[in-house]
Symmetry: D2
Subunit: 342 residues, 4 copies
């Protein structure tokens, strides 16, 4: 039984709390949040203790793992404190937006030999995973092109946008950059990015990019396209298409129901699932299960800090290219590190 200290009761925290509670080999022991009321409410629901003091929770020797669901800029510090307290760490992406800070974290994790997992949950989506498996099984031979559509139904609130400019790369496409590395078992050597502000000033007052396309060239020569938008009115649009010498694989979107409506003006189906909570519900449960099993079996978690670092590196290159207009090369020593395939 792995006991969790969950830090951060905001958006994603309650979802992880429910998954911990439902997992047969896990227990929610602590909920930590500066907002003591929020922590107390969430903790009560699952019979956990609550506190505003991370130290208090980390001091509990029963706690085996810390799950970090706080805003990104707080991740690194919590990772380091949890690591020094000897706890395994499950951290929402990104590790940090500052590469130096990420590297410092890496050093602490290495010294403390902390099992660490960065939650790129999409790797655990059953359809994306089936696509990954099919590539690994050689179904399409050598992958030659990858096309990812990664579109949100709406832009984040203005203060969130203000706190993280170029969030379309740092917050959204960072998932895709991780998927590209993972699916192709390869690293990009060049990034070209273009953006646009398509939303009007009411919706996007900071004029931060809300629409973007990126082209990546991989070390293997494979070409990759990613596109993103913050206003897919028809739902959360998440597709991956892998093209290779022997065929193509497409991971399509799910819809809430399988109902088809035939009428005189056409055949209609549901719009897509509305947002990532619904769309990736299974992946959140599966990533937690994978983390728990890894800790249990003494293995390294499936997605490590280097994965988080490299996705950030690509996002940084995309921002630089979008700003300068020029293609940006990635460091020559970039090569896909041996990952444990989750």
């Amino acid at each position: 039984m792995l006991e969790f200290c969950l830090v951060g009761c905001g958006f994603i925290g309650p979802l992880h709390a429910a998954n911990i509670a439902a997992h047969p080999a896990a227990r929610l022991a602590w909920v930590v949040d500066l907002d003591a009321t929020a922590a107390g409410t969430l903790a009560a629901k699952y019979g956990a203790q609550s506190t505003a003091s991370l130290e208090a929770a980390l001091a509990d020797p029963a706690v085996g793992a810390v799950m970090i669901c706080t805003p990104p800029r707080t991740h690194a510090a919590i990772i380091e404190r949890a690591a020094r307290a000897g706890k395994a760490v499950f951290c929402e992406k990104p590790v940090d937006l500052d590469m130096g800070r990420v590297d410092a974290c890496a050093a602490v994790l290495a010294t403390t030999r902390t099992p660490f997992f960065v939650a790129f949950n999409r790797r655990f989506d059953p359809s994306h995973r089936a696509l990954f498996d099919a590539i690994r099984a050689g179904e399409i031979g050598r992958p030659e092109m990858l096309v990812l559509s990664s579109r949100d139904p709406e832009i984040s609130p203005p203060d969130y946008v203000a706190a993280m400019p170029y969030g379309i790369f740092y917050d959204t496409m960072i998932h895709d950059f991780d998927m590209v590395r993972w699916l192709l078992a390869d690293e990009p050597v060049e990034v070209v990015a273009r953006t646009a502000c398509m939303l009007d000033a009411n919706e996007n007052p900071h004029r931060d990019p809300d629409t973007a396309m990126v082209m990546l060239r991989m070390a293997s020569g494979a070409l990759v396209h990613v596109n993103s938008s913050f206003r897919a009115v028809y739902g959360y649009d998440q597709r991956i298409e892998a093209f290779g010498e022997k065929g193509m694989l497409i991971s399509r979107n799910r819809q809430p129901t399988m109902l088809e409506r035939y009428a005189a003006d056409g055949i209609r189906q549901d719009p897509l699932l509305r947002f990532f909570i619904e769309r990736y519900a299974e992946s959140y449960a599966l990533e937690l299960d994978d983390f728990i099993r890894a800790i249990d079996e003494g293995q390294a978690p499936a997605i490590n800090l280097e994965d988080g670092r490299r996705a950030l590196q690509i996002a940084e290159a995309a921002v630089a290219s979008a700003k300068s207009g020029a293609p940006v090369s990635l460091p020559a020593d970039s090569r896909n590190v041996g990952q444990r395939l989750p």
Copy 2:
């Protein structure tokens, strides 16, 4: 070069005329219709001669084949005259609605050794044909159930309905009855039919059945369902589903375009192709080609008078069952005759 005498300029005649004209090994030589103007107009379009006299056209030794596109009750007489004139015959279904008349026709065709084809065009639809081929290739093993949906977007005009009561069986499902025999290479031993009048009195003043379901038991034990309606507002709905020990095959509908429209209220596609002219356009050309090749090679055409007779027999049984409420058995000697698979 096979020269055709086309009889009947009504609904389906011009379609066949165009296909004859476009076929590299055929020529439209004569158009025969009591309405001399209609005959003249159609003939002029393709450089053919026209006449109101069938005899005149049959007297032309260049004519090798007669294509019969007149109303059903005139078919038998024209078949016999064409046969006696030594012409091959391509006849729109049905041969006749009176079984005795059909048998008399059969005798004349036998005596004159006339190549004869009854135009159950659906056998030539590429999707239905692919389903047939898959069954024959053993893809689903022994067929166990067959489900056919055969729905028209509207009912025929009142005078047409008045002239052929129970047209839902005699005119529409007769196609499906032929498909069942052909697809399963088997004969029905029992028919149960139910009907309803769902259209209102304006649309269906004669209160002839406009909605029907039929259940067939085949000699092999396979069970068959056919449903039909005269108001599929979303288009001409023609589906076949064959279920067997190793799987299932579904021949689905086509749509005019492959466009998908994603909006906030759902994903929309075109309604189905509107009517049989569009839906079965390919099958009309392919059945003609098959007929011409058969004549050319001295083979029997692919669908013979016995096929027409048996489809009529099933339609009669369906009418009897719908009227009496009781299941109707088909004659014990009904067994699938060896057909040349077209």
Copy 3:
């Protein structure tokens, strides 16, 4: 908090136990099974008590509801005992296969004013429910035809088959008969059924029907077709098609993933979900939630004993028709009772 006594640890019991445990307003208090070990194991998993004595559990005043997951022939007795103990009852279908026994049960439930729910779970499947909602909203106008495909990937074990001959009607299609009544808010007036044994003697040693088609005529005149098979090798095939004056609705099957594989020999997708546990996972959770809310709010549960009785009546008629070959009329007073639409 509604405390449950779950009776029967066999196939479906553990699934319901997990759903009870996961429900925020429910608790599993007791597990009852003649097999004390099985009861103990299941109970332990959720912190419940276990016993082989139904009386012992019913004696617990904290228990508010009894969930019956035992074999069908034991249902009626347990219903009556639970009712007399003043507990609400959630019962797996069918209530009983003997109509007299069902009526006796009805009397007890009436006398004791027991809240009773018979678990026709398919009514809670999101896609089927969306179809129901669309009919109610008038999207297809008056329903005219209903076509249901209800196919299992395999036949039940021989002893199960021996204990319930004609299980294809009593056990499988009974769901569809309930769906027909619910979707159309109408009652059948006539049933015609045909069956076949398509499996070989190894798989189906009792030669009980493994393949069936049924045609129903409803009081409104609507026509209904249901087909069933016990060997859908491609997965659990559950489709509903409702055709009406303004269009058609189709509730299609789900697949495990949304992956499409394009290769030189075609485009391939996953087979269907394998069995009802996966396919109807959501409906099991939703029916429980609906039951709990009804009890909580003092309302009658959504599906009552009369619903169970009528589905059984249709199944009996289907068996009679399959045996005699004749259509079977249903009692003239059959009319759709006012249901609380769940």
Copy 4:
């Protein structure tokens, strides 16, 4: 009746000849080819005259239009000769690969006031056209992103590749560049292109790019992605996806049949139509019809030389970007010229 002189009996010539013959308002009068035998054979099939001398055919005053189906490098000269002979011109794309030569052509066409059509046939594909119509009707509001997949099942023969290096841009994507301009009614201001050689040396001995991705920025700010490959083993893959403020439109691929095959290992459909002849069969007939009607009504044909020139300009920019690695800007005066929307 418009009489055509068809020049070039190679690959696409016979297809156009058949469409001319089938068109009610057109006649094939002459077939011109240096290979007199080929010209004679094709001409004979449609009752046309044949010659190796373009002058001879142009001298025929009955000829109203010249259809150019010869290799690209010969187009410009034939256009000029036909224009000077006072004939309308239907020319396969491209006009020429040399921009100076195209401009010279433009001058001749202007002087002679010749009706001219460059055959970007994809504009006439019913699904692509429906997408265009939906954009024009405002269904997706302002277009924000366009994603085109344009993949051939195989590379051209080595001598063809040798004659036109970078054919992936000049020969294949030139269609897509035209589609982008047409669909968005907008012009690109920047092009970034990347290529790869993925085929092995046997298939692609000249190591000419066989795989490519292009990113375009339009004057309106819309972003465009195009990808192409010369080895789509699953068929001719031609998709267009238009994303905008109110939704998304996808023009999907067609398949030869609508058959679905359900088996234990999955659900299988046909691969895509094999090549452009099948896929774009309708568009070839429709573009011819549009051309004939334009000539007939004295209107300018739907796609003019400026359209050809601009598509070539984009292809040139793509080649330059692929070679240098740098983004290439298009001339500042590039703006979408008013086209007659066909």
